[in-house]
Amino acid sequence: MVQEMRITLQNVGKIDPRSIDDYMQAGGYQALEKARTADPMELITEVERSGKLRGRGGAGFNTGLKWRGAAQAKAERKYVICNADEGEPGTYKDRIIMEGDPHIVIEGMLICACAVGAAEGYIYCRGEYQKANELLKNAIRQAEEKGLNGGVRLQVVSGAGSYVCGEETALIESLEGKRGEPRLKPPYPTVEGYQGKPTVVNNVETFAAIPSIVEKGAEWFQSIGAKKYPGTKIFTLSGDVVNRTWEEVPTDTTLRDIVYGIGGGVPGGRRLKAVQVGGSSCRFITGGMLDSAADFDSMARLGASLGSGSVLVVDDSHNIVDVLVPITDFFAHESCGKCVPCREGTMRMAGLIRDIAEGRGDEEKLAMIRMLSGYMQSSCFCPLGQSATTAVASAMEYFPEDFEGKLQRKEAAVHVED
């Protein structure tokens, strides 16, 4: 039985997202008050100790460590940025938070600003999320009216439809009014970020977890979920699943519980073929791997990743190559074009996968896909290109018969284990 546990979503559906009073009645902004009276370094230690709250955007970097870096950097100005440019296909967790409880994000950011000594912050919000955009602006205005912002100026900036701007340095470039392309790292944003100043960039879900950690303490947070990746995680389900829904659960919940417990399994008497957790940039896993916990490290042990927490379920009616067509098209469309391997490679990969899917494949093309995939993983400038072929590589590993079927122009090869 799946045990839901709502931390970041604690108020979603319970309060009016337009009402700051609702949020405060539910206990909102008390953590901020507590944070303001605390010593900033102790506050950061608390977040760090909180059993290492790790970034919920996908990279899993220790949030407290990030904050410490920015707090210790010497600069006359520092910035806090909320990465709300949710662009990973199948992921809509940030939208649920922002549309259901925008104040929790604002509070998390204000606590961070207080900890690192920032007086300005930006929420870089996905352009298509108009409702979230509006609600966040409203929430900022309300917090300012009540004087809760404590002099910290927060602003919402709308993204312009670029996947790579979810990468923190590309996000910062875009925020500075430049073309959204990743920067060379190092220096990392905590040292030289927005306008060259120390900057903390955290995901919406990460900020939303902060108020509860400050309020209830590190020990409480650490007691939830997986040891090394404690707390909760929102999973968003899509694809061939009965309930295309979302839920927040402790991080030690198994994938089987997520797919069958929350998702209700595969509809129409079909059988489960593959699951892609984390978005288009992540690996497929097969039914036999579902008993693993869904936390960051358990997923890594499977050679897969937790990523953003999206769960795409694929049933046995599909040939996996057909599933790869929109994925590879997506990367060809979203490559920023800066580096050669990604600029040319994503386009070539999309063409090769389409050729195979549409019956124009041969062994030589499979060999080209393998070569291109390895090359892009090792030589691209940023994670977009490095992970653009991850799904392809895992599909070739687990479902070679699907590719073979396509070469022989047979319909969906069947490969099922559950």
Binding site: L184, C336, G337, C339, G345, T346, Q377, F381
Partner: protein
Amino acid sequence: MSKISLTIDDINISAPRGSTILEAASLAGIRIPTLCHLKGQNAKANCRICVVHVKGMATLQPACATKAAEGMTVLTNTDAIRESRKMSLELILSSHSWDCHHCLRIGNYGIEELDKELCSFCFFCDCVKDGDCELQALAEEYDIRQLFFGWCGEPLPLDDSTGSVVRNPNKCVKCRRCIEVCTNEQTVYALGVEHRGSRLQVVPALGKSLVDSPCVKCGKCIDVCPTGAIYAKEQIDEMLYTVRLENEKRTVAQISPGIRGELARLLDMDERDLDLKRLISGLRKIGVETVVSEEYAAGAADAEAAEKLGKTLREKAGTVILSNSAPAIELINKEFPAMEKSLVTYPSAEQKFGQLAKGEWAKRAGVRAENICAVTLSANVTYKAEALQPEMRTGGVPSVDFVLTPQEIARMLNKTAVNLRKLPQGKYDLFGEARIPSSEACGALLASPDGTEGLTELELHMDGKALKAAVVRGLGGVRRVMEEIQSGASPYQVVRICS
């Protein structure tokens, strides 16, 4: 400066802290191939040709942008690295101009030493580079014989809207060196990128043609382009046609000594062995009747500058901006229109030559201006744009007809089978009776660039007064000085600006 030690290809290297892997490797004589990298520019790391393996890192790292660190172990030439470089080159070439794939220099291992003269007899391409191409050299080094992925270049139109700086987007490798020099060094902001992914293109600002962009035709982008994607518009054929077939025309050419270094490089000669007097013979062989040196016209131009400057300083208050550089003047016209009233312009040596050739000299020789063809041989591509300006006329015709760059001179010599190593020395024709000495007062101010970029301060003495003056080289510096003058913060009475 503190040092760090690291191991590159099993060689222990001590390098200054802050060096990149590329720099550290070169200290030990290890060559790492590069394409987008250019010394003096910010690291771009977009071509991925210089990738190396750094022990402990999962992905390959660009040597141009990765700082060498204490104790680092680096490999620069493993099979995996060479495979990655080759793949990058194949991908670049597979969406690259089709004519480059016909080039005998690519994919014919063993004839990489092809003589450049071959290019003048080969008709497979329309490239101006004649084997002086960085992409071609890498393709040869990495033995790119066939395109693994097939060719998918889509022919794009050339942009020769400026008449001097030509862009061929089909040969662009998107290294962005041109954008870097235009934006950060020259602060002209004429170039950028549009679209993304494989549709990405380097384009003039807002996707307009170059002539409608902020471009001032300084030609710096030409200097940094690794391929034939940006080049100076060629006038070889037109010039040869005029010289050989328009019998009523007298051709007068002026040689600027500045061409020597680049011309020697292009002719695979040591600069010391290149005697420009042999070029006089070469030009005569082609059919140029009169060849003069730059000194006379340069002196006359300087004298004109000194006179104009003296007059202006006596009549006007405030900083006087002196220039004969077409790009610098255009930058002021475009971006500092309020400063035009402070601007004193004088002719370049090239323009002065044209004016003299079609003026005084024509009269003396009894030839009408329109029957004179004035050719200048100069390393400075900006004279091409200058010659096209409608006000640059003498006797009702353009003062200068053709401006040939070292690249054009080298190609013209190859085309006409003129070998400078074998020709005897020629003698300059005398242009005028007396040389006009350059004004002593302005000597230092007007001295030709010595290659130093930036600002040089000096003191001028005029009419018994000492004036604070400065020479600014490079448009980035020009912009800064203009902003200072505009805000009233400039300490100078005279500023000479060059591009």
